[in-house]
């Protein structure tokens, strides 16, 4: 694209035509502060933090949306600009509940950082009337606190534009404007799918997960409980960020060490049950192909996606794999196979999961997720909550040694660890299904067509005389586009992977907060995803069916994939939900 030359603070800058002032300034080494701006998601120029002076312009302009023109002269650091930004912050603070010390976002609050960076001296400068809102605690996974909301609308944009759900928005007008749902319903009464993308979009402490860390600490402190933890693949690709490591750092060994030091009786890995999922799902796929079952088969690992399907595509729940998610398969295997093997009463086991996900908190309470007569998973915490526990326990995370998971449910393959990136489940399934169909060993395990962060991917493979057509979607807006193509007959896939969050679990709603200033310039999904593909490449075992512990669990307990016992313990059922249900 052709470049345009402009002047920023008197210095010449060349930037591609069509760039905004914000982007051109970045090229010149200047970060203009932003608050409401989320690239390609929330470009509304509403908060006025990014204002700059443009020579000849009537007033200050919003750099995040103002395009550059040849010869333009921009000033990003004049007294007028600084005064305006500061005043905007002071006005935002006038209706912001400033309980910063006890705020879940203290130290990674974007508003707090701006106040510090831009030199706000008096947070009470414009104190006057304040709105008072009740917290929405109706949903199982999160809390909305409008007293801290600054009306940037980042959550609204993500819910509506990225996820295509739109259960939150701005109600009323003027001073009464607030973010809520239709008719002020609690989130639990809406078709919210619990994905938590609003949480990771929020710059302040207005939306956050329900914290279950106390329950975990209490369980660990209880001598009568046998407390077991599993960690999802994506957690190891994000957790390090909470301790100052750059985005894209893998911390599997230190994470295992930290969990052990927190006092869990066993430190296991969801990678084990990801491999188990592949065994069951590949079997289910081949069975549906051979016996004329419902196709395309759609993956069921992502509970946000499952709830979305139940609300928005209730006529397609038969397409969903009946496999429980890896989290639930783990808990079910733990409380049946492992409990039996070790002679432990499953009711004494507290099954804890660490997930990059908030929908997992919803999933543990679903029907038909209790193989041993008690919940497969008792407590599900996010990556952020685990970091809170580690900090609270005073563990010097970065100084911890790299340790391994415990046996036997800590063994996972390279195929399992890539579950956390969009396309990973598909690739893992292909590695197993192709070998099963052809009866030959795969020479190249890298199915690169299904990798990458694009929202929708397609590929087809000729396997044993059959053309297998697959598709992958991440982010629910993309899922809708893909499913509408399937429903209209425009596409005829055999197998589809869908993840609720854009980029897959690495970018889940339970992952560490990354400031918008970083997200606007870097692809967090790709950086974290690469961590998982590196773990895959480094693992000597990269096919789920070659996991020795998986072979053992079938030999000793389940028999064959898809057996009656496997169905009873590892599979589940779905319900049909409405979109606009009128609450009682």
């Amino acid at each position: 694209m052709e470049n345009i030359t402009i002047k920023i603070n008197g210095m010449e800058v060349s930037a591609p035509a069509g760039s905004t002032i914000l982007e051109a300034a970045r090229i010149a080494g200047i970060d203009i502060p932003t608050l409401c701006f989320l690239k390609e998601i929330n470009e509304i120029g509403a908060c006025r933090i990014c204002v700059v002076e443009v020579k000849g312009a009537r007033s200050l302009v919003a750099a995040c949306v103002y395009p550059i023109n040849p010869g333009m002269e921009v000033f990003t650091n004049t007294p007028l600009v600084r005064e305006s930004r500061k005043k905007t912050l002071e006005l935002i603070l006038s209706d912001h509940e400033r309980k910063c010390l006890s705020c879940v976002r203290s130290e990674n609050c974007e508003l707090q950082k701006l106040c510090k960076d831009l030199g706000v001296e008096d947070e009470s400068m414009y104190d006057g009337a304040k709105n008072e809102y009740e917290l929405d605690e109706s949903a199982p996974h999160m809390i909305r606190d409008n007293n801290k909301c600054i009306l940037c609308r980042r959550c609204v944009a993500v819910c509506d534009k990225v996820q295509g759900i739109g259960v939150i928005g701005a109600n009323e007008r003027g001073f009464k404007t607030h973010i809520s749902s239709a008719f002020e319903m609690g989130l639990a009464d809406t078709s919210c799918v619990s994905c938590g993308q609003c949480i990771v979009a929020c710059p302040v402490g207005a939306i956050y997960e329900k914290d279950n860390t106390k329950e975990v600490f209490d369980a660990i402190a209880d001598p009568d409980k046998f407390v077991v933890v599993q960690t999802a693949p994506a957690v190891r690709a994000g957790l390090g960020e909470e301790f100052g490591l750059p985005v894209g750092s893998g911390v599997e060994g230190k994470m295992a060490a930290a969990l052990r030091r927190l006092g869990f009786d066993k430190v296991f890995d969801t990678n084990f049950s990801a491999d188990l999922t592949i065994m069951e799902e590949a079997h289910e796929f081949l069975d549906r192909v051979k016996n004329g079952g419902t196709l395309p088969l759609i993956t069921s690992c992502s509970p946000g996606w499952i709830k979305y399907c139940e609300h928005y595509f209730p006529d397609m729940t038969d397409n969903l794999s009946s496999c429980k998610s890896p989290q639930q398969m783990f808990g079910a295997t733990l409380k049946t196979y492992y409990a039996q093997k070790m002679g432990i009463d499953p009711k004494k086991i507290v099954s804890v999961s660490v997930m990059p996900c908030t929908a997992k908190k919803f999933e543990i309470g679903r029907d038909d997720q209790d193989a041993a007569g008690c919940p497969d998973v008792d407590i599900s915490i996010t990556t952020r909550e685990l970091a809170r526990m580690i900090k609270g326990a005073g563990l010097r995370f970065l100084d911890l040694p790299d340790e391994d998971f415990d046996d036997p449910l800590g063994e996972g393959t390279g195929a399992a660890v890539i579950f956390g990136a969009t396309g990973g489940v598909m690739e893992a399934a292909l590695r197993t299904a192709v070998e099963e169909l052809t009866g030959e060993e795969l020479k190249n395990l890298d199915f690169t067509d299904v990798r990458g962060v694009e929202g929708i991917k397609e590929a087809s493979y000729d396997v044993a005389g059959m053309t297998v057509k697959v598709a992958i979607a991440s982010g629910l807006g993309n899922a809708r586009t893909l499913l509408n193509k399937v429903k209209s007959g425009e596409a005829d896939y055999h197998f589809i992977e869908i993840m609720g969050c854009p980029g897959g679990c690495v970018n889940g709603g339970g992952q560490p907060h990354v400031p918008a200033s970083f997200k606007n310039a870097n692809d967090v999904r790709a950086l974290r995803g690469k961590v998982l593909y590196d773990y895959d490449a480094a693992n000597p075992i990269r096919k789920s069916h070659e996991n020795p512990q998986i072979k053992k669990v079938y030999d000793e307990f389940f028999g064959e994939p898809g057996s009656h016992k496997a169905h009873e313990i590892l599979h589940t059922t779905y319900v049909k939900r409405e979109v606009n249900r009128i609450p009682e």
Binding site: D160, G169, S181
Partner: protein, 163 residues
Amino acid sequence: MAKKTVPFQGTKEQEEKLLEMIKAHKGEKGALMPILQQAQDIYGYLPIEVQKIISDETGIPMERIYGVATFYAQFALQPKGKYRISVCLGTACYVKGSGQIYEKLQEVLQIQGGECTPDGKFSLEACRCVGACGLAPVMMVNDEVYGRLTPDDIQGIVDKYNA
């Protein structure tokens, strides 16, 4: 949930009219405003039952519809009563104590401003200057004007319409 004081009493005919109207706007950009205006013409207000139909038929999330309906003063979420009481909260009436009149009405009718009594008889709203500042504080019941009010007058006026 917003407080609901009057049960929804939409008829089959109204629903047919609504569906037909929405169909006529199909595929039209920016159709939400005219759809809401015409829906309000059909029902007199925009209860959840009506907004649900609009959302189901257009695919527009109900929250966006509700957001628009609560942004513009022209849209009502509650039906109007048989007797529409509006109290002037304009400057002249306000300094003459219309605020107390408004409060007294909420107390007597047991509803908030903007709502309607469960029997559908009275609705209450605030308005700005009705052009009778000389009679301040002023309220209107449908087209009838009551002036120089004190809170003690309110029960009697309401009783008159209840009789």
